[in-house]
């Protein structure tokens, strides 16, 4: 392994600009003549808009324009879309209500975008927004997923009983039959708490219309600028793609929340034309992020697991109500369906599974993919069921899992997925060892002496990443193909530029992608640059989410590198006057078998551009290749996380005493970066389990957790350092053998934490977030009983 090749812990190339304050995030960019947008948002959860009077605001100092839904309609700008069609059990298509970029007729959640003020300064725009007079007729609202179907208010005319779809997966009859034969059935009522993603960089956009060229440019905080351009062009109809450039510069974290196309960015673009081509900038205040970023999770589930007398799983049955919020966000519909129920088999051999999902509208912010997207919800169901079943049947939870692991591959689950490779026992065994599972009873006894309750919990997660084979997702309703593209440009001096459709917002692509190139072409990583995030530079791409940049994005690069090598061999053969078949490429140089003829990669690059020494009728000059890679299967990262907690029974405070994560991500390009992804993921999962919970007040429909004072982000002192290790089974569906690592921690962690806390407290279940209050309350009946 070279020092900068695949598998090396290379320090990140991108870091220098970030540690010196030279990162370039959207809000850092200021264009000439720039003006500012401020949005008037709904104070009501559900209301009819009776009138909007903009006269006063329009006259306020610095104001260039005040716009509302009617103005958008006048220009025939389309509404926001949901790009994944789900059909109900009865075959009917999902009920997608209209989602205009500025409200028309009705508002449907607190924070809904009603009007926009554009002014010379941010302060002027904000001050004028307060002068926009909106008359509302308040309607009955509902913020609770479980109550949506019987709620008094109907969020969308097209969706009676607020039902978006009633979808199912699996064989119901076979599952019911298996349950009849069960020796033991474990049942759980599970709430997967609603989360607010909270990337540290708030969303921002600058829309700029060039009156001379009739051309638009959008700077935006996006994980997938090409998809944004496609949607804004094809669905909003703002401009054809060749007249619209979308740039996503440095982006300060995404976690899914910056995949989606949002109203604000489209409004900035559109409004720029309305104000004569002055660039219009909008930067979310954190309060707006809380109100109007797409949220995550929010499932209410009844789940059952059937076992035979030996603890072998026979079947699983799951019934979920998933809140979609007030509108269907860009990919919302696939999250509680194809990213959720398809993973309900976990790491286990389960002969039959049946899942039914009701997606419902509530008067809350739209819900969409958030780190893990569906897979954390599935893992939580599976791993809580399995742990509870083991306890109820008095089987050691590790042993219970072993008895049920899938051990031969490929394995076709009853819920679509075909797992290609894995060794679940290997990661469990290693994790047990690292966590000193054998020593746990002694630690528990020692903690008890100090008056503390100690518990241990497992989470053996699996996820489907490398999103995704185009044909497969197409057959399931996706509106796009999920391949990735890459272009490799070798310059005449032998330096290399990689243009990728993936987008880095913390993942370190500038380093890992360069490692691949260094490995393949033998050039120094300093001579490789990665270009991404600009639709004018990169031809097309699907962006970064679903842990796809490695398995799909890098495979596209690897394919383009194959073509580069083939072309360079041709050039080298001609220059060295040898047969092409005799040319070998190794360690960055081309040599002719059986001779001492040799050319460095840079020399061949130069020869390709100079083109004096080979027949250009046979070989085109230049050294530039591109490739599109469409995966043949999902990838299946899996692993075992073990969490050990200690609880103070007097206060209910939970301390995480130890955390072991053993993950199988296939081949690892840069272990340092991969470990970082796992750390971050775990803490997001711990946040869900211990501190974070989005709360809407049922009476008023107001968001109660609308700032960092009320929504508790995990802080450094809430979490420990982690013990990490890897096991490796290579992914057979891509040449590099990679599976993906971005979401694993967030998927695994919540179940590990709650399994540990329920073990410590000795209760069957606890709601998330298991705050000290929740834990303390759970302890009271036991204390009373002991008295």
């Amino acid at each position: 392994m070279s020092e900068t090749g695949i598998g090396a812990r290379v320090k990140r190339k991108e870091d220098h600009r970030f540690i010196t304050g030279k990162g370039r995030y959207t809000d850092d960019i200021n264009l000439k003549g720039q003006v500012y947008a401020y949005f008037v948002r709904s104070p009501h959860a559900h209301a009819e808009i009776k009138s909007i009077n903009t006269a006063k605001a329009a006259k306020a100092p610095g104001v260039l324009g005040v716009f509302k839904g009617e103005d958008v309609a006048e220009d025939k700008i389309g509404g926001l879309i949901c790009g994944w069609m789900i059909h109900s059990k009865d075959g009917s298509p999902m009920k997608a209500g209209p989602h205009p970029i500025l409200a028309v007729g009705k508002v449907r959640y607190v924070g809904d975008h009603v009007a926009v003020v554009v002014a010379e300064t941010r302060e002027q725009a904000k001050a004028a927004a307060a002068l926009v007079e909106v008359q509302y007729g308040v309607l009955p609202h509902n913020v609770d997923a479980a109550k949506a179907k019987s709620a008094k208010g109907q969020v969308h005319e097209v969706a009676p009983n607020n039902l978006v779809f009633n979808w199912s997966l699996g064989d119901e009859a076979a599952t019911d039959a298996a349950f009849k034969k069960a020796a033991h059935v474990t049942r759980l009522e599970i709430v997967n708490n609603r989360l607010i993603p909270n990337a540290m960089e708030p969303r921002a956009a600058i829309g700029s219309y060039d009156t001379g060229d009739d051309h638009y440019t959008l700077y935006t905080t996006s994980q997938n600028p090409h998809v944004a351009r496609l949607v804004i062009s094809a669905f909003h109809g703002l401009a054809p793609e060749h007249k619209l450039r979308v740039i996503a510069p440095d982006v300060g974290g995404g976690f899914g929340s910056k995949i989606f196309i949002y109203a604000e960015e489209v409004v900035c673009l559109w409004a720029s034309k309305r104000v004569g081509g002055r660039p219009v900038k909008w930067t979310a205040e954190r309060t707006e992020s809380f109100l109007a970023d797409a949220h995550g999770r929010d499932h209410v589930t009844h789940a059952e697991l059937a076992m035979d007398k030996d603890g072998k799983i026979l079947a699983m049955k799951v019934n979920t109500i998933a809140s979609m919020g007030a509108y269907l966000s860009t990919f919302a519909s696939c999250v509680p369906t194809y990213l959720y129920a398809t993973l309900l088999s976990g790491q286990y051999n389960i002969p039959s599974i049946y899942a039914e999902v009701d997606a419902v509208y509530t008067n809350t912010a739209p819900v969409d993919a958030y780190r893990g997207a569906g897979r954390p919800e599935a893992t939580y169901v599976v791993e809580r069921l399995v742990e509870t079943a083991a306890r109820e049947m008095r089987i050691d939870p590790a042993e219970f899992r072993r008895r049920n692991f899938i051990t031969s591959f490929p394995h076709q689950t009853p819920v679509i997925m075909c797992y290609d490779a894995g060794d679940y026992n290997a990661s469990l065994t290693k994790a047990l060892e690292l966590a000193d599972y054998k020593g746990f009873p002694a630690r528990k006894a020692e903690a008890a002496k100090r008056g503390k309750l100690r518990g241990i919990g497992f989470s053996n997660y699996i996820e489907a990443c490398g999103i995704a084979p185009s044909a497969a997702v197409g057959s399931l309703g996706a509106g796009v193909g999920l391949w990735e593209s890459a272009e490799v440009r070798v310059n005449p001096v032998g330096t290399v530029e990689i243009l990728t459709g993936s987008h880095s917002h913390g993942q370190g692509h500038e380093t890992t992608f360069a490692q691949l190139v260094s490995d393949r072409l033998g050039v120094s990583i300093d001579n490789v640059s990665i270009v991404h995030g600009d639709t004018d530079k990169v031809q097309f791409g699907m962006g970064t989410y679903g842990s796809r940049s490695g398995a799909v994005g890098m495979t596209a690069i690897a394919k383009a590198l194959d073509k580069i090598e083939a072309k360079a061999k041709k050039v080298a053969a001609h220059v060295m006057e040898a047969a092409e078949g005799d040319v070998e490429f190794k360690d960055g140089s081309f040599s002719v078998k059986g001779t001492d003829k040799k050319m460095a990669f840079g020399e061949v690059a130069l020869a390709a551009y100079v083109a004096h020494k080979f027949p250009t009728s046979e070989i085109e000059p230049g050294l530039k290749e591109s490739a599109f890679h469409d995966p043949t299967n999902f990838t299946f990262p899996a692993g075992c996380h073990i969490c050990e907690v200690e609880i103070d029974p007097d206060t209910g405070v939970t301390q995480i005493a130890n955390w072991v994560a053993v993950d199988d991500f296939g081949s690892v390009i840069n272990p340092m970066i991969v470990e970082g992804q796992v750390h971050g993921g775990i803490v997001q999962g711990v946040g869900q389990a211990l501190t974070e919970g989005c709360v809407y007040d049922s009476g008023s429909g107001q968001l109660l957790t609308g700032s960092y004072m009320d929504y508790c982000m995990p802080r450094a002192a809430d979490v420990p350092s982690f013990k990490l290790a890897f096991t490796e089974t290579k992914c057979p569906s891509n040449p590099l053998g990679m599976k993906g690592c971005g979401e694993a921690g967030a998927i695994a962690a919540p179940a590990a934490v709650i399994n540990a806390i329920t073990d410590a407290v000795g209760v069957k279940d606890l709601p998330m977030p298991a705050t000290s209050q929740v834990v303390w309350n759970a302890l009271q009946p036991m204390k009373k009983a002991a008295e």
Partner: protein, 154 residues
Amino acid sequence: MPIVSMKVNGKEVSGEVEGRTLLVEFIREGLGLTGTHVGCDTSQCGACVVHVDGKAIKSCTALAVACEGAEVTTIEGLAKNGTLHPMQEAFRENHGLQCGFCTPGMIMAAIDLVNRKGKKLDEATVRHELEGNICRCTGYHNIVKAIQDGASRM
């Protein structure tokens, strides 16, 4: 409108501000030093931490006019003649950043922590002292390592 003058990263600067202009707005928009970030509106995230007269403060929570005559250091002012500050170096070496958005504030807060508590920092102290800085990417693991390492290099 009042005129405010201060020394930022060793340079005398002055500019017209409104009475309500925050220090962070003056730094980012007035001076074009965009390394200092704004991550919240309730003084919790710490993305905006700078040093004023040698002490870490949240620049979103100070008025520019209140810093009249002060010496301000931002993330851009840490490296001297192209040599990174040891804390910057330690963040890079220990992979203490991912998206980089919290990083300037983290580094400024970390240097202040060392100034206050010395170069030998145990993990619990570092974690406790980071209460005012939120990172959504790293899970803090490598930030804690970076700060301990950076402290020992300072």
